[in-house]
């Protein structure tokens, strides 16, 4: 019961703080609208907002899918093929060093103004945390297990698939959690650079028309979906890895 009440209380508290800030700073409505104004804007335009939300959600979902796939295969390749490390690892690092904002216009020019460039942006942003975390996990396998496996006659491939990969799944889960948190950034940045749909586009449009209430409503909707997606992924990951030792005590507490 408390599990559902707690988030509601947190949200209510945040809204209260927001209102207090508006009262204290006397910020004009076109800079920081009060919660009531934003709620009104949401209600008036909820059909439009939800329509655009669908587009952004699709971008995030596809980005997560491709980013996770690419990330896991890269990590596996790095772990299994020694020469790959020399060539692929710098590319991996470079992929994160370049700020996404700089790549966005190029991606849009290559992939057009449709959903492809947004998915590409999200994929790019997701790729690095997934790949590095999984690779780290694969590298840090308990050495005793490798010894044991070798005495039992396991090949390098079996060692990878039966021991290293399952052992690295918690690390992969960490990477996926980070990826879920940053996926919306990729999608929205892509929309800012060139899109005709999506919550990022809607925010820009509302801003240009001085519809600050609508802009905040779209922003909050995005935040809500981002948090929900994270929660779903996190719960899914915890269910999928029941053998993680630190899981059990907290489950017993709840």
């Amino acid at each position: 019961m408390m599990r559902f009440v707690r988030p509601l209380i947190i949200v209510a508290g945040l809204v209260l703080i927001w209102q207090i800030i508006v009262w204290l700073t006397g910020a004009p409505h076109f800079i920081l609208p009060a919660p009531a104004r934003v709620a009104e804007a949401w209600w008036t335009h909820h059909a439009t907002i939800l329509g655009h939300a669908g587009v952004t959600l699709l971008e995030i979902a596809l980005g997560l899918l491709f980013g996770a796939l690419l990330g896991t295969t890269s990590a596996l390749t790095l772990a299994y093929f020694r020469p790959a490390r020399r060539w692929l690892l710098p590319v991996l690092v470079a992929s994160q060093a370049v700020p996404v904002f700089a790549l966005a216009p190029i991606l849009v020019l290559w992939l057009g103004y449709g959903i492809a460039s947004k998915v590409a942006m999200a994929t790019l942003i997701i790729y690095f945390p997934v790949a590095t975390n999984f690779y780290d996990g694969l590298r840090r396998t308990e050495p005793g297990w490798a010894d044991l496996a070798r005495t039992m006659g396991a090949s390098r491939w079996t060692l990878l698939t039966r021991i290293r990969v399952p052992a690295a799944l918690p690390a992969l889960a960490s990477g996926l959690r980070i990826a879920t948190a940053v996926a919306p950034i990729g999608a929205v940045v892509g929309e800012w650079v060139g899109a005709s749909a999506g919550l990022g586009y809607l925010m820009l449009h509302a801003n240009a028309r001085v519809q600050t209430g609508l802009m905040f409503a779209a922003l909050l909707t995005l935040a809500f979906f981002a948090v929900t997606i994270y929660f779903i992924v996190d719960t899914g990951l915890r269910r999928a890895l029941p053998w993680q030792p630190d899981n059990l005590p907290t489950e017993q507490e709840e």
Partner: protein, 317 residues
């Protein structure tokens, strides 16, 4: 006795005069937010700056370039800056949304917006836009412009596909992602394409059914504005325009002085094309012209009602 009177009266008087003179000539500071990064559209401001016209009128103007063109009017409305460069069409929407803004001067007295296509492309007239893709960058009222231009040829917005290409208008057109772009400035994008070796054809919005308007205006917050100071600002600005018109080549040198990054071919070509469009009388206001555009905005559904000119524009005496 005479000497003591001299000392007791003259010297203090001198002191007061000197100090008083200082405070009378104390410079008034103004923050001016440009509409975008520094470009030839801002020429008169920089000429006034470099030629010392602002200083001669007792002004110290700090010019700041924002990254987001939507910010300056909001910041002026919020009291964070004195003057913003903004766009006449936006002004109606902003005032209707409750922002305390008023236009007190004009910088560029003609529209700069065009519908741009490739000269050797399939679009020879606006009617050819039927079934085509038009690129735009979010400014807030590009669909209103298009609606007016298309209506003249019996078309509606449903006959075209609008694609948001954000600020890369020319690349989108050149790459063939879109057949036409709206929001391209006649002094910029046309030259940009020419430099790349492409010939563009421009449809001027004011020739295609949109009432004429001022592309760049000066806005201030009516609740905070110091009318006397802003009048001096306009006087200095007018001096800048005058010098610019009379000495364009010297003015260019003033523009790029200390700002080497502005000295490139695009800016030079744009400079030449913008010269004829600056408001020669920045303070002047044509009320009927502003009212006409207000009615246009209302017909396009961008504002609920056309307000009286006094609500959003002022003439400083």
């Amino acid at each position: 006795m005479l000497i003591t009177t001299l000392y007791r009266v003259l010297f203090p008087a001198l002191l007061v005069i000197l100090l008083g003179a200082g405070s009378a000539n104390a410079t008034d500071k103004l923050t001016l937010l440009l509409d975008w990064f520094v470009n030839p559209d801002h020429a008169p401001l920089f000429v006034a700056q470099e030629q010392g016209y602002f200083a001669a009128h007792g002004l110290e103007v700090e010019m700041i370039a924002p990254a987001d063109p939507n910010d300056p009017p909001k910041l002026v409305a919020a009291g964070k800056a004195d003057i913003a460069l903004s766009y006449q069409p936006q002004l109606y929407v902003q005032v209707a949304a409750g922002l305390p803004l008023t236009r007190f001067g004009t910088l560029i007295a003609t529209p700069l917006n065009t519908l741009l296509v490739l000269a050797d492309g399939p679009i020879k007239s606006i009617a050819d836009l039927k079934g085509r893709k038009v690129g735009f960058s979010i400014g807030g009222f590009e669909d209103a412009l298009l609606r007016a231009m298309l209506a003249r040829h019996g078309l509606t917005l449903d006959d075209i596909t609008l694609i948001n290409v954000n600020f890369s208008l020319s690349p989108a057109l050149l790459a063939g992602h879109v057949d036409a772009v709206i929001g391209a400035y006649r002094n910029f994008e046309l030259n940009q394409m020419a430099i790349e070796g492409y010939q563009g054809r421009a449809f001027y919005v004011e020739e295609e059914g949109v009432p004429s308007y001022d592309e760049l205006i000066l806005v201030a917050n009516p609740e905070h504005m110091d009318r006397a100071v802003l009048r001096r600002f306009l006087d200095a600005l007018e001096d800048g325009v005058r010098y610019l018109i009379n000495h364009p080549e010297e003015s260019w040198q003033l523009f790029i002085r200390g700002r080497g990054e502005l000295d490139d071919e695009l800016n030079r070509l744009a400079w030449r094309d913008t010269l004829a469009r600056f408001a020669l009388r920045p303070a002047a206001l044509d009320r009927a012209r502003y009212t006409r555009f207000a009615r246009f905005m209302q017909e396009q559904g961008l504002i609920p009602e056309a307000l009286a000119v006094e609500e959003y524009a002022v003439v400083l005496e």
